[in-house]
Amino acid sequence: MSEEFSVVGKKIIREDGFDKVTGLAKFADDYKYEGMLHSVMLRIKEAHAEIKSIDFSAIEKNESLFSIITSADIPGAKKVGMIRNDQPIFCNEKVVTPGDVLAMLVGESEAELRLLLSKIKVDFTPLPVLTDPQKSLEKDSILIHPETGTNLIVHHPLRKGDIEKGFAESDEILEQTYTTQLIEHSYIEPEAVIAIPLGTSQGVKLIGSIQNPFTTRRFVANVLNLPLTKVRVQQAHLGGSFGGKDDTMCILSARAAVAAVKTNRPVKIRYTREESILESYKRHPYILNYKVGYSKNGKIKAMKIDILADGGAYVSMSPFVTWRSVVQATGPYEIANVHTDVRAVYTNNPYTGAMRGFGSPQPIFAQESLMDEIAARLEMAPDEIRRVNGLKIGSATATGQTLKDHEVNLVRVLDVACGSTDFKTKWEKNKKNKSVVVDYDSSSPILNDSQFIDPGDLIKKGIGLAVSFRGCSLGAEGIDAAAAYISIQNDGSVYLDCGLAENGQGLRTTYSIIASEVLGITSDKIIYLELDTGITPDSGPTVASRGTIMGGGAVKNTAEILRERLVTLIKAEYKLADEDVVSFSENLVFSRRKGLIAKFPEICKLASSRGINLAAVGWYKSPSVHWNEESGQGDAYFTYVYGCQVAEVSVNIATGEIYIDKITAVHDPGKVINRLGAEGQVYGGVTQGVGYGIFEEVTTDKGFIRELNFDTYTIPTSKDITEIKPIFIEGKESYGPWGAKSLGEPTLELGSAAISNAVYNAVGKRFFNLPLNLEEILLSKKLRPADTKRGSLL
């Protein structure tokens, strides 16, 4: 196909948009069934304790109670996990974090069931609580899961070149430590799922707010000890996920399914916001130590990185999250000598797993802050040092992978970002005008006269940037393939489905565009079917920004299979020469030589009457990648995307407030399929990046979360960012549909570093600990209340 597109690259409104804004779309909690039971969870207020007994005798005869669901009711696996089976469906032996659920009550009324919870007597022995990941690996530290013999979840080493030689060759060496915080996905729809028993021959069906229906099916089948075919998972409209409705929803689905099978009634679980934040996994806090050696001309000679991730109470996705970190920890720079260790450890904190970004936002904050600091020491501009070291075509990454088969557009996104923001001029001007935030002395809370700020000096402007490269899709994490299904009806209308899931990102619209481009039909002819594991082929999880590159590839492949069948038919029926070219556009079919031949529906009717199969399942499999666990070397991902974001901020030097004036986001996602969808990804991702950079933090006290709702857990509002400007550089790429790659995650990984660098430009102070909240800006530290109590509740 030529480079001219009829729909691809245009601004297309989401196919589910109307239903969502008018309230017609059904979310999981909107589904109700005859005889449906509700459920409530039994927890104890302990972060670490051995359960001796649970006494339900006080409630057993209560008429609000239909059934008590415990570990004893599980016919199959009692523990599950994405990578390691360490997470109990019901914690009947031990709790290891405050979100843990001991048992579940089901009955007609959720409200009445809740009243029963306090009457259950749980006898337990509290255990020492481990909350500091830096103590997890100490010899005398308590083991969270004693059967594993260690609190180490995973260790990824990476060795490239000769690190000592690299430092010896360096003119200067800089060492810094950074920390990043625990954060919550903040999907607007809390968890909800319904399990419906289908009888012994059919098993169980689940409808829920589920990110990855095939993963959920695997978990539930395992727990119920059923074949995969007897667990059918259907996805309801999803009110956000951001990587967060994976493990949690698998476990909730398993609980609901166990209850449905036991009671032979449909069972719904739905969480309040507080329960959602309490139990669901979060983004890993990291402690990152960087040691960098560099020459006077800015060339990085050696980088030694040591990263510790708090995995919390369960393994979840920690091994994969930290694997992406080890691949990308140096940033998008060609460095001859690299020595990286990334470890994840157990604690009693809320467990951590997948979240949009997946192991990249943490090292990017560190490494992009560091690059700016090196530039400042060498009196170079921020963009210059990145040009000196940035990856180019033929460069070798830290894992020893040579970049090829795509345009390596790192320097180009940087150039475009700097050009469109007038970066250099603003950066120089702000640097000249900067004034330092007042350093307050905590021992004397009353200001001295010189500390008062002149009103004219109150607001300082800053500009800063950050760049990244990001491996597309799963890489060496696992098998990477996706399937799509298209069925053309004899009236020319089309069913479309794919094994990857709509998570609100607009995937269904993207796939409809791809199908309509290949088949030359308008989007109103396409009906997108809901994802149902009983019908759609397994395509792995919808994660890692792989929707467009993998699922899109599968949809294109499927549409092309059917197109070829139609072309063969048309050539025979209309007696076209072999060299003639058939094309499809706007529901019409053309021959290059004869012009308009027929309308698309006529061709479909013809095909049907000739007995031609117009349904197909297509497939897209990624090229192979490889990885050496010991050396951390290999072709980690089959391709990469590149991005640069520029943050322009105003800093109030009296209060520490940061106002985001503008974020310019320049990304190379390959070919853009839906410009409107792509822009939406940028607006959303940048906003989440700002939240990560300056507002959001889940804090804990002995493992207990303080911010259990959005009154105290502050995500950015529409008033907190003045302008976001998306710019796309559509680099050439060999893989994906027409070279379309990934965008979802790159958009949110750059914000924190760009903002921190902008604040430095404004006030000349560096920050090492996210988020850059009010206290961090003024005092370079976080202040915390002594406990989790709240005045309004007393």
Binding site: A111, R114, L115, V438, Y440, S442, P445, I446, L447, D449, Q451, F452, I453, P455, L458, A654, T655, G656, E657, Y659, F695, F710, D711, T712, T714, P716, T717, S718, K719, D720, N773, L774, E775, L778, L779, L783, R784, P785, A786, G791, S792, L793, L794
Partner: protein, 290 residues
Amino acid sequence: MMPSFEILFPKNLNDALNAISLYKEDVHIIAGGTDVIPGLNQESKRFKNTRLLIDINRVPEMKGITVDQEKISIGAAETFSEILLNEIVQKKLPLLWKSAGTIGSVQIRNRATLAGNFVNNAPCADSVPVLLAYNTKVEIESLNSKREILLNDFLSAPYKTKLGKDEMVTRINIPIPSSKLNGDFYKLGRRRAVAISRITLALLISLNHNMIDEIRIASGAVTPIGMRFFDLEKFAEGQKVEDQFLKELSKKLGEQIIQVAGLRWSSEYKLPVVQQIFYQLLKGIERRSL
């Protein structure tokens, strides 16, 4: 979890007062419900045993904003959105108008009432410092009595007021301030909307040739409840508006806050910042008055 309770929708003040006199215990007045409903949901002790809610939205005596020679009178069921739409409030009570615009979000302002803000008496109630600076009076009625007291006397402790069990706040009466009074309100939150205030300050000053004729200073969120700083006001009256004095006054505010609130986990941040903000407010008024 939400307990079960009854809810009444009285059509006039008499019915409302009757209802509250009958139940007395375990009754809560509800207008917008932006404090009551989350309180019920979170099983706050204050709302735990609620058996009856009296919704005042249909009580005509508690609606409307009226103006006479001396005062602007705001009904207890008036929402912040209604206050924001009122041109007289905007003109005569600019600090109230400004603070009303900082409350929560549009959706919260559409429901939340000015009266609810101070009856709830959270330390962070955004409008309280402003109302205190305006010498606001609270009109309170029960079936057998009617009284009017200063808001400053009405507020007793965090989440506590002098409201009797059988009483309701019916109207908020704000004396129209002298046109010589110039002022400002500042709210610091963790973000620009839907933010619980970390610091609020309200300041009104009238100057007479560079001399402070009258000054009113009130704060929120840095003291256990919103409060006026009468000692500080007395100290400042008659003084010349000079940079050195404004700094001194700002430091004195910091000292007063330590006296009232002591040092808390947040003091290390809030104390220096409240002095800075206050100084900025003073300088702003100085600049506009010259």
